[in-house]
């Protein structure tokens, strides 16, 4: 039992990363019917921006110009990086996808892959081939709950992720911007007839998705402090799988499927050798998709942003 609970905690942490990234895939698909295949790399860019912001803030603190406890620095890092990374998303939409709004979907997919390569190699050119390590902002403390070991970092990661997801849910269901996003997912052709600027909503969707990916990147950096320019590829593809599994365009679906992916991976690794982890985990997911090709909350031939 403790063994199971121990893995459950780990699964929640992995699931948080996947779910946060999957949300961006799903939201963009929901309103524009395209998969932003550069999204995994935006996660990477977010992690690096977080690295830059955290390094900068700790340096200021070390020089005595900023008297803040480390946890405040971490919160600031997350918020500032989410804000900055949202502009990366807006830029990707504006330069990469908007010119292709009426082009065949395959062009947009290829563009996404190219943007991903540009972000990876751009990072390489900028910072060189060395890996960077994310500054350790909080000291790891391990709590023992009746034999289940939980670190403060894991609690923080899961709590921050859930808070962001709840905030997103509130935003999409309560604000007029969220309402416009849902409307756009249902029938984007007539949205301008309501006096709603399509391009603003599209940019906003990219901004939110990218900010969530940045949060995932920083949380990942807190748990696994080594960053490299290609870290977004595997995460991106796995989160993409989660978005499909949840049902394209479904916010709830992407969240649940992200966590499910984390669970399947961790529990497969619990039983089988870890080298077989992804092989077995993704075979299971393939099997689920054979029986539910539209995912948990997806509908045939439609792309609707739902809650």
């Amino acid at each position: 039992m403790t063994f199971f609970l121990q893995n459950l905690v780990n699964a929640l942490q992995w699931g948080s990363f996947y779910a946060l990234i999957a949300l961006g895939y799903s939201m963009v698909y929901g309103i524009l019917m395209l998969f932003n295949f550069a999204h995994g790399d935006i996660f990477m860019v977010g992690a690096y921006i977080g690295f830059g912001v955290a390094t900068g803030l700790t340096a200021l603190a070390a020089m005595g110009m900023l008297a803040l406890p480390n946890w405040v620095i971490l919160v600031l890092t997350i918020l500032i990086s989410m804000f900055l990374t949202s502009f990366v998303g807006i830029l990707v939409e504006r330069l990469g996808y908007r010119p292709l709004r009426d082009a065949p979907r395959a062009s947009a997919a290829i563009t996404g892959l190219m943007i991903g390569i540009i972000l990876e190699t751009g990072n390489l050119a900028l910072l060189g081939a060395r890996r960077v390590s994310f500054p350790s902002l909080i000291d790891s403390v391990t709590y023992n709950f009746g034999g289940v070991y939980v670190t403060n970092k894991k609690i923080m990661i899961v709590a921050v992720s859930l808070a962001l997801m709840a905030a997103l849910h509130q935003f999409v269901s309560r604000t007029k911007w969220g309402m416009a996003m849902r409307a756009m997912a249902f029938d984007y052709v007539v949205v301008p007839l309501m006096g709603v600027p399509l391009n603003t909503i599209a940019a906003l969707t990219f901004a939110i998705g990218s900010a969530l990916a940045a949060a995932a990147g920083i949380l990942f950096g807190v748990a696994y402090p080594v960053l490299d320019p290609y870290m977004g590829i595997v995460f991106g593809w796995k989160a993409f799988v989660a978005a499909i599994l949840g049902g394209r365009g479904s916010i709830m679906g992407a969240t649940l499927a992200g966590f499910l992916l984390g669970f399947i991976e961790i529990f497969v690794a619990m039983i089988f050798p870890s080298t077989l982890r992804d092989l077995i985990a993704y075979s299971i997911i393939l099997l689920i998709l054979v029986f539910r090709p539209h995912g948990f909350f997806g509908e045939a031939y439609s792309a609707r942003l739902r809650l």
Binding site: A180, A183, G195, P197, R306
Partner: protein, 236 residues
């Protein structure tokens, strides 16, 4: 207030409108009748900037060049609203959300509140169903909501595409009575209809559109008596 000159629209190589001229004055009800495929919907879409007008077309609204405006600004800045064919409601949003979305660009909170109440007083059914998803409404209620939405988003002038489509006669009368009421409060209406008799009775002036050309125009009552119109559109 709305003036359209030499409006030409093509879809690829096919020309849908071959240079048409018409106008709508303040507070007026004007109709464009014509057969399926004559270009009626295209005319409305060109005015609301959903489809591009060809070079040489002149569309002005209170002296402003409509071609300078994007589709969303036509609504949010000029108050020119378009109720599209088939209503096109957001079925995943509630009745209230559909109406609120139509106020996306409006800032006048107090007036929005009054307008909402006005919509619910004109269409009592919508008030009863305000928390219901628009996709669950009946055809008549959906048309009411589509008109209510246009009412919320500007209502200086309303372009209506086949509001009678798919409605039983009684419901249809209800919808047109409501439109009359909205018009009497100052909203001009440009109505496109296949149901020519209904449209010509309802409108002060009418145009007849055939294969992308305006072939006749006149007062609604006169067009109703016109033998050409009677033969072609009123079943002889």
């Amino acid at each position: 207030m709305l003036k359209v000159e030499n409006l030409r629209v093509s879809y690829g190589k096919i020309m849908a409108l071959h240079g048409i001229d018409f106008y709508v004055d303040k507070g007026e009800i004007v109709t464009i009748i014509g057969a399926n495929g004559a270009g009626k919907s295209t005319t409305l879409r060109a005015v609301s900037r959903m489809v591009p007008a060809a070079d040489g077309s002149r569309l002005t609204y209170n002296g402003k060049n409509l071609l300078d405006y994007s589709a969303d600004r036509v609504v949010s800045e000029l108050g020119l609203t378009h109720v599209p064919e088939g209503r096109r409601l957001f079925g995943n949003l509630t009745v209230l959300e559909n109406l609120k979305l139509a106020c996306f660009a409006r800032k006048d909170r107090e007036q929005i509140k009054r307008d909402l109440e006005r919509v619910f007083s004109i269409f009592a059914r919508l008030g009863e169903r305000r928390e219901q998803k628009a996709g669950t409404l009946s055809g008549g209620e959906q048309q009411m909501l589509a008109i209510g939405r246009a009412f919320m988003s500007g209502r200086k002038i309303m372009l209506l595409d086949e509001p009678s489509m798919g409605l039983a006669p009684l419901l249809m009368m209800g919808v047109f009575n409501a439109l009359r009421e909205i018009n009497q409060e100052g909203t001009a209406i440009l109505l496109v209809e296949q149901n020519a008799r209904l449209a010509l009775k309802f409108a002060q002036r009418g145009y007849v559109l055939e294969n992308g050309h305006l072939v006749l125009e006149g007062r609604g009552a006169d067009l109703l008596q016109n033998p050409q119109v009677q033969n072609a559109y009123l079943g002889g």
